[in-house]
Amino acid sequence: MLFNSIGFIIFLPVVFLLYWFVANKTLKAQNALLICASYFFYASWDYRFLFLLIFSTSLDYFTGIIISGSKTKSRKKFWMLLSIIINAGFLGFFKYYNFFAVSFAELISNFGLKADPWTLRVILPVGISFYTFHGISYIIDIYNEKIKPEKNFINYSLFVSFFPLLVAGPIERATHLLPQLQKKRQFDYSKAIQGLKQILWGFFKKIVIADQCAIYANMIFNGSGHFSGSTYVVGSIFFAVQIYGDFSGYSDIALGTAKLFGIDLLRNFAYPYFSRDIAEFWRRWHISLSSWFRDYLYIPLGGNKGALWMKIMNIFIVFLVSGFWHGANWTFIAWGMLNAVYFLPSMLLKRNRLNLDIVAQGKILPSAKDVLNMSITFAMVCFAWIIFRSQNITEAFGYFSKILSRSLFSKPYCPGLISLSTLITIITTLIFFIIEWFGREEQFAFASIGKNWNRLPRWSTYYALVIITLFYCNNQQPFIYFQF
């Protein structure tokens, strides 16, 4: 079931009403209802993979208890590694097997040997990358004695499978979510209102911004014609806006939905395109994944301690794995590597923690220096997105070479690009970023809209947003991060 589907529009109010009117008596009932709803939500996509989800959940649940009960460090380590290997094994099998099989066959064909790779015709279970990471972090936290294992199977299952975060995150931590699931939720009016506003904003980002920009990004990226260099630059900007609107929109819907049930999820985006350097960008983009890699990979590897070559290697490993997490394609690895190259100078010069505050905090407009830094960072990010968006490395290099042509400074043009609907999309996107700018000190930009307004202008704004979103809803694209 997709968030942007009729099914979800029926599903959400039904679960909400049952939750607050039928299952509101006890914690057990609240969690039992949420886990049933979550499994229904997942099974409506493909019920066969529900068994995999339940298996993965059970594995980590029991392993957590065993690790906690183990007397010796070596036994704890054994069970932790076993759980990680099995979890990663499933992820590797479904997500990466074909990639390795084909890559291996290609490699040995370079030596004149012929190999017919035995590839699998399996579809990637939705959300496997996300729930596997939930489980792994839980096990590592128990091993490190940061948390105690959850004894209640339903509570633990809900931590892994709570439907708003099940298929595309945010990647939760047991330390953050489990305590919320262990106590009965009381209805909180302001939280529920905030939730609805965040859901509305998420839908607007996804349907109006991302899906409209997707039309033009696809037109240019998939176009068989030869366009000017400037057109390809425009294409990469459209994709940058698309992927931000798509994924942060999804996250807003997830966070807003969770709030309706009295649960706070981890923030996933904090206005990444207003970042002044790459390090800040990575603190603001897909925060739950970046922090996961920081805590469970970068720091265990040694972080920024040790010899220079160790520091460099750690950075490359983290970005490479992070890229590969996105999908079994060399483009994601190259994208990760490029980000490592971007990140490295600031880390080596110890300038990676320069911009920890919000840009132009307390001010209306940024300084010229901030504008320049944000522009450079955005340009670098867009450049990297080209690799991310391309089907293969050759296509990415082809795209770069088309940008770096003599026509780079000519007027952008491709059939269908110069139209009224493009102009409307550009204006809407600009308004969207203005709202984001003025709301950048809030959890989500729309939270600031109408705070101190009368009901009439406030509700009129909500209605306008609802109607604009509904207007665009028959041109829906699937969420990009569902494939990961």
């Binding site: 209805f187 009016y189 529920a192 209102i193 209605y463 609802v466 109607i467 207007f471 809803c473 028959n474």
Partner: protein, 296 residues
């Protein structure tokens, strides 16, 4: 919690009220607003073949309501609508091999054409839709919802049609065009029963109103004609004979030899070709009129 439900209910009620208001406003627009079709003696109807081939400006009094990729069932509804408000003498109706192909039957459910076709018909007529026509009801609902419930759509007549052409010429698309018209993946399409039925309905409709139907086969390039499967040539010939038996004039210019630069692509004439073809049709119609006058 009471306050939350109260406020949500008020918010949703206002939204629903607004949508109902928009629905009735749009119904009124569809009912009362003029489509913009003018009165004429000759009405040109059909798909892109007649849309590009017959320039109404060259006629004494003609209107072209043809539209790209239009199947006969939509032409039927459009004619019904036009003829309920206007009186005409003659209907020039596009009639070609591809009009009889079953690929037309899928146009209300098809991924490529579905959206556009449903957008055209939502304000036209869907009640009398044959059960044999596949229709993507969910898409139709979405289009109706967008166009009827959200804002006052002051121009809902996407089915209006009209002559359009250009001077471009590139006949290299014959394989693509023939595949689109006559093949479903690798296998040949069926001959459409629905198309034949709706063609008959058009004839009945015009006969009732004493309108002369002239079926027109517009010129097509040989590169395309060579690729028309025999099944469709036979179906066309048989339908042609049946139409002629009913007193319908069939002007078959399909194999008319035009220079390549008279074609927009392999199965459509361009502006140049359209001028030539319109003149030819005018000559035939003049001849018919003179013949009729003499007979009287």
């Amino acid at each position: 919690m009471k306050l939350f439900f109260k406020k949500t209910a008020i918010f949703l009620s206002i939204l629903a009220g607004y949508m109902v208001l928009m629905y009735f406003t749009n119904l009124l627009i569809i009912e009362k607003k003029s489509i913009g079709w003018k009165n004429c003696e000759i009405l040109i109807a059909g798909d892109s073949h007649t849309q590009k081939a017959l320039n109404p400006k060259l006629f004494h009094s003609a209107v072209n309501i043809s539209q790209v990729s239009e199947p006969y069932y939509i032409t039927y509804w459009k004619l019904k609508k036009y003829l309920s408000q206007h009186i005409v003498d003659t209907v020039l109706l596009g009639f070609s091999y591809h009009n009889l192909s079953a690929f037309n039957d899928k146009k209300l459910s098809d991924k490529v054409w579905g959206d556009e076709m449903l957008r055209r018909i939502y304000s036209l007529e869907t009640v009398s839709l044959s059960n044999d026509i596949e229709i993507n009801k969910y898409e139709l609902f979405k289009i109706q919802f967008k166009n009827m419930y959200l804002y006052p759509n002051i121009d809902p007549f996407y089915f209006k049609g009209g002559y359009s052409n250009s001077n471009r010429s590139n006949i290299s698309d014959s394989i693509k065009a023939s595949k689109r018209h006559f093949y479903n993946n690798q296998s040949e399409e069926k001959v459409s029963k629905i198309a034949a039925e709706y063609l008959d309905s058009i004839i009945v409709l015009c006969n009732k109103k004493r309108i002369q139907v002239v079926a027109v086969t517009t010129p097509m390039n040989y590169s395309y004609l060579n690729k028309v499967p025999l099944k469709f040539i036979q179906a066309y010939q048989s339908k042609k004979e049946s139409l002629e038996k009913q007193g319908i004039i069939v002007l078959d210019f399909g194999y008319q030899k035009y220079p390549d630069d008279f074609y927009l692509n392999s199965d459509h004439v361009n502006k140049k070709g359209s001028e030539e073809f319109t003149k030819q049709i005018l000559d035939v119609l003049d001849y018919r009129d003179n013949h009729l006058k003499n007979a009287h």
